[in-house]
Symmetry: C2
Subunit: 242 residues, 2 copies
DNA sequence: TTCCGAAATCTTGGATCCAATTTGCGTGCC
DNA sequence: GGCACGCAAATTGGATCCAAGATTTCGGAA
């Protein structure tokens, strides 16, 4: 039952098992099946289960995660808006790849936006928020696996940038982080994590009220990650950048 | 046929005629009905046909623009991703309003992003692009009505910022412009257009190669529009900002 | 043997149909 | 007379069904 399927299922079969495992983690009580499908597919793209260039057949995805094609279509539309998948007219959807140039753009803009967000946020900093930041940074460093790793760090930066006070600004930052999330994950698996201490370093600068120092820590962290991502994308060659 | 309908159709009837007119302009050959519905509804929100706070009943919209409910749902999902509408679980969708604080955020970020885009673009400026900019600026100034007015200006800025060379950067800028597009339109209708000359002023600075001057023109233009939008939002009070 | 064309199959996109949930109204009780 | 509970109607969300288009394969001809 598995020797002939290789040809039939083409590029979509290899991820079936892993995708089902992801679907299992999301089986909890969702209000709508569409949002569940969105979360499953988004996580699948972020952790590499659905690789860039992968062709996304609606029916295959639908029966893999156990729903109809309709919520899958809803999810794909949302993912297209996020820039994670790409629709080719009547020819279906594929997981969008980020070129090296686009990744560089993302990090250039992130430096701009995140430093600005940090400065705004530091104007409204409180001891309570500092304490909360330390706590979130610790749990973020503790998390190791795919999607949870991203979630924990997201919470840290949401607090750091004052997401609640500047929702639009934070929304933009999140979109950019989403675009490069999978490459950071891939890089982390390959290159190891010597960046773990930047959380504490950042919090220390914020606590000291030194905006320039905090901005510099942030900038060097982002450019460091950027260079690592770019190196990985160059190493993989045109395959992922197609 | 119009005296009793006011109560029956509630908040959605007043826009029916105008919406149908918009639908007529988009009746051209679309590949998918979903994208057509998206364009129609997006334009309707941008030009105020669908006002902020407006409740969007899927069936009403569907029969007004002459399609089924399914492509309307697709369009609404996309519009939610754009931040133009808001889904309330099982209770339907409404046109999202922008608070004054959020509008301020949008313009703050736009200053950051657009000045940076302009500087990058000026590094790759050519006489051909200058000429094209002049042409686009002229046609943009000529356009007066709703959606076309936005389109023409979008083309101008796409060329100014080198959208082709920096697609991610441009995508971010477009998202932000989309969020405030309707308020600019509203402000323009109210306040008149003393901002028309900024196109030529901008092109002149770009042609001279003076990045700082061009950035300053852009910044003052954006902050000027921002203040006008904020004034309008404050004047309307909590109605639009709810 | 290779290239072009046509037909068949597969896949996306749309419409109608059905179920589930929410909201509004009416009635009954306190 | 007011509030609460329950029922009914309407609207959203999901599934199955149908049509349109694209791709691939097979066959024929050069």
């Amino acid at each position: 039952m598995s020797e002939r399927e290789t040809r039939t299922a083409g590029a979509s079969a290899p991820s079936a098992e892993a995708l089902q495992k992801l679907a299992g983690r999301h089986q909890a009580g969702y209000r709508s099946v569409g949002t569940m499908a969105y979360d499953i597919l988004r996580d699948a793209i972020l952790d590499g289960t659905l690789a860039p260039g992968q062709k996304l057949r609606q029916e295959t995805l639908a029966e893999t995660i156990g729903v109809s094609r309709l919520p899958v279509r809803s999810a794909l539309i949302q993912l297209e808006a996020d820039g994670l998948v790409e629709f080719h007219a009547r020819r279906g959807a594929v997981v969008k790849a980020l070129s090296a140039e686009q990744a560089r753009e993302v990090y250039d803009i992130r430096v701009l936006l995140e430093i600005d967000a940090l400065r705004h946020s530091m104007d409204e900093m409180t001891p309570e928020r500092i304490a909360r930041l330390r706590e979130l940074g610790r749990t973020a460093d503790a998390e190791e696996e795919g999607a949870d790793f991203v979630d924990a760090r997201t919470q840290f930066y949401a607090e750091l940038y004052g997401a609640a006070a500047r929702p639009v600004h934070w929304e933009m930052i999140e979109q950019l982080r989403l675009k490069v999330g999978r490459y950071v994950l891939g890089w982390r698996l390959v290159g190891g994590g010597e960046h773990g201490h930047s959380h504490e370093e950042l919090v220390a600068a914020v606590e000291a009220g030194d905006a320039d120092a905090a901005a510099e820590v942030l900038r060097s962290h982002l450019t460091g990650v950027r260079d690592a991502v770019l190196a990985m994308l160059s190493a993989e060659g045109g395959a992922a950048a197609r």
